[in-house]
């Protein structure tokens, strides 16, 4: 118990802060911060597996998050029958062509030894394949995008419950990570960072511009929900009764019947949105706890020990007969799959998929700040980092406003400096993140909760 005192203390402070937001601002805000904290925690766990366990640097988190989001769309949206009839055949044919191309390349790789000729053959296959695929897919894509472009204009999905997308998102992200890992894992640390960053930008470019698949920048809105809708809740009897029970003492003070009714209505509206958020919190909490148990188990298993050995001394681990390349690939895929889950969760919560909103600042670098601040190599640290940094990211504006008002209290309200500072309050969050990261890296390089390995 005493060993974990700092963990418990850190988590209680974090929860206390969120509760304070609930009391002073509103429970709605507190819960939405909490939900996004949970999603951030899942992302950080994914990045932590790669960086903390294995020392692999992955700046492509944004790409996996977006793929997870894409999975949510492809799973939950109902299929657009008309689009399938006009363009489905061409798309499926292109898919077959891609598979055929990959198989052909594999065959060439196996059949011929490494030589210039082989490189040329592969290049010819790829180029002619791309031309052929474009030739086949172009009319299909055009037809699909012309089907009711204001509402659909894409193939749609499978019409399944959106919860499934959390698994599919993991598979998508893991698949992409497998390809990237095969290609790029041999690179040095900083090259790998740059390569993954750029590949994630390519992924985003594809998601943004392949309208037939993702609707692109036209966004997909109104995704199905795993939680009830607020409007339905407000009509349900048991929910109204529940709200009434909760606010019994408050309602009893009001004598007038019509006034009581209107207060109750107000409370029901507020309560419904809190209830929906609580549903999400429950779902997310389950994911976080399952992942935490799994990652903790992995950390203390022989496999975890091997990963740390590989991280700390690759050559020695290699000499002991551990397959470094294979293990790196495995952990790269696992970590990215977890990030994919988080991406699907994020879209599930928002109920909409906006490819334009995926920016490296928010989805790659911020997650890295979380990992570094929380403590790389320690799952509790990673989750705490997700919570603390997201909390600060959201509340930075209020904190900055408070500080500005305090320091410029001598100036008149119309003073240009004060006005300018207050206008630029939203950008103080970047400043806080940067300074926080720099301070932590300088004075506590292992993070708030450093990695602690007990030998059992």
């Amino acid at each position: 118990m005493r060993k974990n005192l700092n963990v418990i203390a850190a988590y209680s402070i974090m929860m206390g802060l969120i509760i304070l937001v609930g009391i002073f601002q509103s429970w709605n805000i507190a819960l939405s911060i909490f939900n996004l904290c949970l999603i951030s925690a899942v992302m950080t766990m994914g990045a932590n597996i790669q960086w903390g366990y294995a020392g692999l640097i992955n700046f492509g988190i944004m790409g996996y998050t977006a793929l997870g989001g894409l999975a949510a769309v492809l799973i939950s949206v109902n299929p657009v029958q008309e689009a399938w009839t006009v363009g489905g055949f061409n798309i499926l044919l292109s898919l077959f062509l891609i598979v055929g191309m990959v198989l052909a390349i594999k065959y060439v790789l196996k059949k011929y030894d490494k030589s210039k000729l082989r490189t040329y053959i592969i290049a010819t296959i790829i180029i002619s394949g791309i031309i052929l695929i474009r030739f086949v897919s172009e009319p299909g894509i055009e037809a699909i995008e012309e089907v009711n472009p204001a509402k659909t204009g894409f193939l749609g999905g499978f019409g399944l419950p959106i919860i499934f997308s959390w698994i599919v998102g993991a598979v998508f992200a893991g698949g992409l990570a497998f390809i990237i890992g095969k290609v790029a894992l041999g690179l040095r640390a900083d090259y790998l960072a740059i390569a993954t960053l750029l590949i994630s930008e390519i992924v985003i470019a594809i998601i943004k511009h392949e309208d037939w698949l993702t609707r692109g920048v036209k966004n997909v809105i109104g995704l199905k929900r795993p939680a009830p809708y607020e409007v339905d809740l407000q009509q349900t009897d048991w929910f109204i009764n529940l709200v009434e029970k909760f606010n019994f003492s408050k309602l009893n003070l009001i004598q007038d019947f019509s006034e009581r009714q209107s207060t109750l209505n107000q409370l029901v509206i507020e309560g419904s949105s809190i209830f929906v958020k609580l549903c999400y919190s429950g779902l997310f909490l389950v994911v976080v706890i399952i992942l935490l148990i799994l990652t903790q188990k992995a950390l203390y298993s022989p496999w975890g020990r091997m990963m740390r050995a590989i991280r700390d001394n690759e050559e020695a681990a290699n000499a002991m007969g551990k397959n470094v390349v294979k293990q790196h690939l495995l952990i790269f895929v696992l970590g990215s799959a977890i990030v994919g889950i988080a991406g699907a969760m994020l879209v599930t919560q928002d109920g909409l998929f906006t490819p334009g909103s995926y920016r490296p600042m928010r989805y790659t670098f911020l997650i890295w700040v979380m990992v570094i601040v929380g403590g790389s190599g320690n799952n509790f640290g990673a989750i705490l980092g997700g919570f603390a940094v997201w909390f600060l990211w959201i509340e930075a504006a209020s904190i900055a406003l408070f500080v500005i008002n305090l320091t410029t209290s001598g100036l008149a309200d119309t003073h240009f400096l004060k006005q300018h500072l207050i206008e630029s309050v939203p950008y103080f969050r970047f400043l806080m993140m940067g300074i926080g990261l720099l301070l932590i890296m300088r004075y506590r390089p292992k993070g708030i909760l450093p990695e602690k390995i007990e030998i059992k």
Binding site: V183, A184, A189, D190, A193, M361, W368, V369, L431, L437
Partner: protein, 336 residues
Amino acid sequence: MDFINAIILLLNYIFVPALTYGSQLALGAIFVTLIYGILRFANFATGDMMSFGTMAAILFTWYFQSLGVSLGVLPTALIAIPFAIIFMIFYMLLIDKLVFKYYRNQKSPPVQLAMVSIGVMFVTQAVVRIIIGPSDRRFFDGEKFIIKAGEFKEITGLNEGLAIKSTQVLTILVTLILVSTLFWFLNKTKTGKSMKAYSDNEDLALLSGIDPKKIVMITWIIAGILATIGGTLYGLDKSFKPFTYFNNMLPIFAAAIVGGIGNPFGAFLGGYVIAFSEILLTYAYKKFFMYVLPESMEPDGLVQLLSTDYKFAVSFSILVIVLLYRPSGIFKGKVL
């Protein structure tokens, strides 16, 4: 005649824009490569440092404009650049002293320095946005075109026009002057040679009495000059927006790595490789073929290899291919 028209078409839509864009990338790529070669880390704050320099240039431009100073046909920003450079160098040295020096003395691994540069990126981005705001700003004044498309058509009597913006010529000229001075400095002067030696083998350089503090300081000064001029030229030619500058970091990295990171000449050429491939692959060649081919063979489609949406993706794909087949870059060889 058709043939000349086709050439002019390519000049107007591919060659001149790519040369300009390439010059802007090249300056950034040399910046990345210098930092990587001498301070030994990948600087993720590149784009934001460039935007900081540009912001300084814009603020000085506004100041001069309010004083009524102007260069006539040339943009006022040209007078502002030297002042902005001084400001920028001061900022760079401050950051080095507060942040990077500690890790250098600790001999931290490059990855840690790269992480630290992410912290610097956040801070610089915040400072720029707090001071000048996130919106799009144009600060170009003076004569916009050297030759307009219409005038060109009148003079030559061709169907195709060739428009040359003054910022394009300015960019290319300034880049050429700056880069040749830089190469002269690196190859001919004593300080430049000692920088090369330091980059090649740090221990050996220290043994032969090279002062590392001086080398580091000069690197930051050169980097400051490159970042400010590169950023300002980009801002003059297009417009200044902090977010665009942050994004430009990506093709700049691509250029630096394609050219062989740590090799300034490679970075210089890498900028053009990236710019030309981006524009060549995304240009619609329909009109070109209409001029060159006989009427019966005219193409139906746009004859575009990739849609312009994938402009960035092109440079990144090139980078990935280069990384796979030649991780040390196209122009590998000596370091710095």
